[in-house]
Amino acid sequence: MTARLEPSQHSGSRDHARELVAGLASHMAGMSVVLDCTDLVVGTPSFLDEVIKEVLVLRQADRLEIIGSSARIATLAARAAANRGVADRLSVDARGINGPERASST
């Protein structure tokens, strides 16, 4: 199963990240999450770090896939995942919507 997250255009804080993932299950082993950054204008290191922490560290999702991001967002996400030792479960498809089909959260 795959859950899909779509951050608002200006998503800069850890609080925004926690609000974004609030609807996800608390245990996500065996599941994937897609973070669709197509409409994201402003993201920050803190926002991305918190998304990665919440999805891959705390909820233990199998995979976080970031799609439609800028090169900057891709770099920040990769850095945050490396800091938390979960880089092997992150994939980033910058500025290309070639990931999974659009589907509602499950």
Binding site: S13, V42, G43, P45, F47, K53
Partner: protein, 277 residues
């Protein structure tokens, strides 16, 4: 302990702020003011809030020059004064916003930063894209730091300077974020994660990647990443906390011990078009 320092002078700016501080001042005398930049304004407002916390709101003497009063209105200072209960804060609407991109704002929650982020973005359509991205990221990260670590509200302002004096006021943009909170050193000490001996050492620690007062392996990125981005674009960052001032640019960091203030102020100065000079 005496009253905290308050600024006084003709030009209160990012580079001159510490020369304007008057220790144990009972009032904030801006009568002779002819120029103040975003850093100067946020630092002044933070000092006024710190003084108010220490012993009551100090008297603020406004500039005698009508143009300067109007400019302070455009910068949001009169609204700030009104919000803290100073009658002088009630003034006429300015005829122009004077290249103010974000008027002085008091931020109580990080969600309020979203409105300011949108305002900055809306006012900066012609800027270099990397400059805008860096400033907006910095705005978010520094507001979040102020709110999380200072124990106080954040103050924020941004302004463009098209035709002023170098280094900070010619074809540059400046944003500043301040607070009248406990300061970076106290934040580290109270968390028990670090034990900086003084304010200069505390700022140096805060500038290290993944060093934070929050014991979490991913924390401590925001300030470092902001500084990294700003200096890569030929800009500089001034960090003012307690009795320390640290300036970081492409050549490295320079630290000074200065007159203490209550709280922390961080200013970012960036060229509007890096590489064009």
């Amino acid at each position: 302990m005496g009253m905290p320092s308050l600024p006084r002078g003709r030009a209160i700016t990012m580079s001159r702020f510490d020369r304007c501080l008057v220790p144990d001042a009972k009032r904030c005398d801006l009568a002779d003011l002819v120029f103040i930049d975003a850093f100067g304004l946020v630092a002044t407002a933070s000092c006024i809030v710190a003084a108010a916390k220490a012993g009551g709101i100090p008297q603020v003497v406004l500039p005698t020059a009508p143009q300067m009063r109007e400019h302070l209105t455009a910068m949001g200072f009169m609204n700030f004064l009104r919000d803290i209960g100073q009658e002088e804060g009630v003034g006429a609407e300015p005829s122009s916003k004077g290249d103010v991109v974000v008027p002085l704002a008091r931020v109580a929650t990080v969600f309020e930063a979203e409105q300011l982020s949108r305002l900055l973005w809306a006012n900066a359509a012609r800027w270099d894209a990397q400059v805008l991205e860096t400033l907006t990221e910095g705005l978010w990260e520094l507001v979040a730091n102020a709110l999380e670590h200072s124990g106080a509200h954040a103050l924020l302002m941004g302004q463009v300077y098209l035709h002023g004096e170098p280094p900070d006021h010619h074809q540059r943009v400046q944003i500043a974020i301040g607070d009248a909170g406990r300061g970076i050193r106290a934040s580290f000490l109270e968390s028990g994660t670090q034990s900086p001996a003084n304010d200069v050492e505390a700022i140096a620690l805060a500038l290290r990647y993944l060093v934070s007062s929050v014991p979490d392996p991913g924390r401590g990125q925001g300030l470092t990443t902001t500084v990294e981005q700003v200096t890569a674009l030929e800009g500089h960052v001034v960090l003012r906390s307690g009795a320390a001032r640290v300036t970081v640019d492409q050549s490295g960091a320079q630290a000074q011990h200065v007159e203490p203030i209550g709280g922390t102020v961080v200013g970012i100065s960036l060229p509007l078009y890096p590489g064009s000079s």
